[in-house]
Amino acid sequence: MKRGSVESRANHLAAVFDQTRHDHHVLCVEGLGHRRRESTRPVTVYKTAEWDRMIAYEPADLTVTAESGMRLSTLNAILAEHDQWIPLWVADDKEDTLGGAVSAGIDGLWQGGYGPFRDRILGLRVVTPGLGAIELGSHVVKNVAGYNVPRIFVGTRGALGVITAVTLKVSPRPPICWSWVWEGDLSALMRRAHELRELAWPWAALTLSYQPGSEMRLRAEWHGRRETVRYLVENLGAGGHELPLWTEGPWIDRAVVFKGALPRRAMGELLEWVDEAALIIEWQTGRIFGSASRSEAQRLAIWLGEHQGVFDVVSGPDLGIAMNPILIDAWTRLKEAYDPEGILG
């Protein structure tokens, strides 16, 4: 099934839908399987990691279309030949496929410098049980023709259709990436983060990270021109090419891996409050990523809800976060069209 036309992908998936329906299962589409949420229903797992063809790449247009199973690292290796890339670095350093990143609503640490990953999604090719194979969005960097349907595929875990190809806006690769780190007292680091924003803007990432039992760490990363890095080195010290994100050792998965965001006003408060979770906050955007036990994750979800923040499970159990009833109605009607028998969960 690795090599195949659009039609053969659609035909094959139609057969998979039939079998899943016959088995009374739910179809769970997986890229590399890192971002899996637990399900209470019997699941048929369908792997897309071998769908890894490049479909179209035009460096001058800063756009690329590839099959959904292509790994981001594979794509970036191709784009690197033209000094371009998709700047997505997730704090747990795990690989993602393009379709997996879209479906799980994954985002990275470089949002401050490059914006959210979802803003790069120009178009999707999707196979649905209800409507068959469809094209959503476009292949150009600017488009307002029709509804922005790709948006409702971001983070909805393939519940409306199976993504078979993704069109993304690519970025030029900066001439230099450089980083600095500081550790110690939270209030001193927060003051430093504020000063950094005054010194230069926008940073590719300005993160405060915390692991249970270790010191808080501030890390600043600049992507840009050598002259600017020289200026920053004069002001901040030598720094280094790829200084580590976390204070001690690599990332450790706990029961729940989560992402979310909070208003800038509440960022310091969260860092003072957090205790048992590994947590990283991007200081320019308020985006968070972390890992915690189930009970700690539940506490954090409640805390964020009370502070106008957002909590979302990347992998782990469903924590039962409720949706507005009016939005449930809209979602139900969409499901009726895209996946009338609920094959996709």
Binding site: E58, A60, D61, D83, G105, R118, D119, L131, G132, I134, E135, L136, S138, H139, V140, V141, K142, N143, V144, A145, G146, Y147, N148, V149, R151, I152, V154, G155, T156, S171, P172, P175, A200, W201, P202, G224, R225, E227, T228, R230, Y231, G260, A261, P263, R264, R265, G286, R287, Q308, G309, V310, D312, I321, I326, A330, W331, R333, L334, A337, Y338
Partner: protein
């Protein structure tokens, strides 16, 4: 059960003075910035709060009367024109900036606030609101929400959907829903991202939380004067290929230059100039210096006649005023003009411009080009005289042919003006039947009866609403 006394009920909600039914009062609402179609609304209601909007919507929905929201009426695709006897909710009284939240870098506004007023209000705090459509002196943020408006600076900063973090909206049933959050992150389906740019066909926005962008530490505006359009197009591609994403990268051709030089903000372009690029780079000061130097080098390697760097803020302001008044300046060289809006892959720019020139020749009309070259968003301005019905027909056909070229080259029928009435049939050029069904399902999910802004965006059969005056093609 349809209500017969809906008009009286509306008056009870917003007051007698704020329900317009007099034909003379309705006349200004019979078209928007897209003047090729006229259609008089059944009535115009002027609510001044979210609760009034919700109450008005409930009354109209119960009476099965279609409706739409309207701001300044600057839509260039007919998005704010009432079809199928719809009632207009004119949101001009909801025009307050409610809060400037510097700490969270958000400004909270009502939908009737004029775009440029937002930047003026936040400038003292060191911020700006990035989307800057050319109509920003008049267009409202509610309209920007509906159309997902762009502007010259969206090349670097993105369009409206990238700058609205939350919205309070009224659904077709009159329910109030809050979407998004102060943090600007999604949880669950990205409804907000879907609704922005839905051309007022799914919800009515009553309050918006907009992301503020820090003013760049430094910027440099550059004018590049060319003797050949092709060379200017190639310079655009070379700048992007060099890994430079300017804040803005605009282009005007000779006919457009002729028009703007007759307008209120002449720059002093030589009369024989064939194309001009207006380029702005901004950011950290070292980045700007180096980038501007590199842009200059690229321009000089593309047979540029002259490169000018803005030396004062007054000079920069004039160059931008010259560019931003280009559409209006067409009135100085033609009785009327019709603005098209299509997108092509940037690499196809020379091909697209050559084909637009061929279309102008084929239909014996003049076409000026003023456009966002950096993202391939074309704005051909088709000049005509409305007193010549045959010429009007040729212009309409030429516009359609230009969109066909955009789609053929792998682009889109609209980059920022929307589908509206104008391009509803052109949707079939860009999307297949299945794709359109997928979009129709979105409409059904939010507005199953088709009451919100009917006759826009999706090519569907007309519905059985009671009709007021029908649309009239102007000629």
């Amino acid at each position: 059960m349809r209500q017969q006394n809906w008009l009286e009920d509306l008056k009870k909600i917003v007051g007698v003075r704020n329900v317009l039914t007099d034909p003379m009062a309705l006349l200004p609402y019979s078209y928007d910035g897209y003047t090729l179609v006229e259609s008089t609304p059944r009535a115009v209601v002027l609510p001044q709060s979210r609760d009034e909007v919700a109450a008005v919507v409930k009354i109209l929905a119960r009476a099965e009367i279609p409706f739409l929201a309207r701001g300044a009426g600057t839509s260039l695709s007919g998005g704010a024109t009432a079809l199928e006897g719809a009632v207009i909710l004119h949101l001009s009284r909801m025009n307050h900036i409610l809060e400037i939240d510097v700490e969270n870098e958000v400004v909270v506004v009502e939908p009737g606030v004029v775009n440029v007023h937002i930047t003026k209000a936040v400038e003292p705090y060191g911020y700006f609101y990035a989307p800057d459509p050319s109509s920003q002196q008049a267009c409202t943020i509610g309209g920007n929400f509906a159309e997902n408006s762009g502007g010259p600076h969206c090349l670097k900063y993105g369009v409206t959907v990238n700058h609205i973090v939350a919205a309070e909206v009224v659904t077709v049933d009159g329910d109030v829903v809050m979407l998004g959050n102060l943090a600007g992150e999604i949880d669950g389906p990205d409804w907000l991202g879907l609704l922005i740019g839905s051309e007022g066909t799914l919800v009515i926005a009553t309050k918006l939380w907009l992301r503020l962008t820090k003013q760049p530490a430094s910027s440099q505006t550059i004018l590049a004067l060319f003797d050949e359009v092709d060379e200017a197009s190639r310079a655009v591609s070379a700048i992007v290929a060099a890994g430079i994403i300017p804040a803005a990268l605009e282009m005007m051709d000779q006919l457009a230059i002729d028009a703007v030089e007759r307008g209120p903000y002449p720059v002093g372009y030589p009369a024989d100039l064939r194309a001009v690029l207006l380029i702005e780079v901004d950011g950290e000061r070292h980045e700007v210096l180096e980038t501007a130097r590199e842009v200059e080098e690229i321009l000089h390697s593309h047979r540029v006649r002259e490169v000018r760097l803005a030396r004062t803020s007054e000079e920069k302001t004039r160059w931008w005023a010259n560019r931003k008044t280009a559409f209006g300046a067409m009135g100085l060289i033609s009785p009327q003009y019709y603005v098209q809006d299509g997108v092509i892959p940037r690499s196809q720019l020379p091909e697209a411009l050559a084909r637009i020139a061929a279309i102008a020749k084929r239909y014996d009309i003049r076409i000026a080009n003023v456009f966002h070259a950096g993202d391939g968003n074309l704005h051909p301005l088709l000049l005509y005289d409305g007193r010549d019905p045959q010429m009007v027909q040729r212009v309409i056909q030429a516009g359609s042919d230009i969109l066909a070229v955009c789609v053929e080259l792998g682009g889109s029928i609209t980059g920022e003006h929307g589908v509206g009435i104008e391009k509803i049939e052109d949707m079939r050029r860009q999307f297949g039947e299945g794709d359109l069904k997928a979009q129709a399902a979105v409409k059904t999910a939010w507005d199953s009866e088709g009451l919100l802004n009917p006759g826009k965006l999706l090519p569907t059969a007309p519905r059985c609403h009671e009709t007021g005056s029908g649309p009239v093609k102007r000629d």
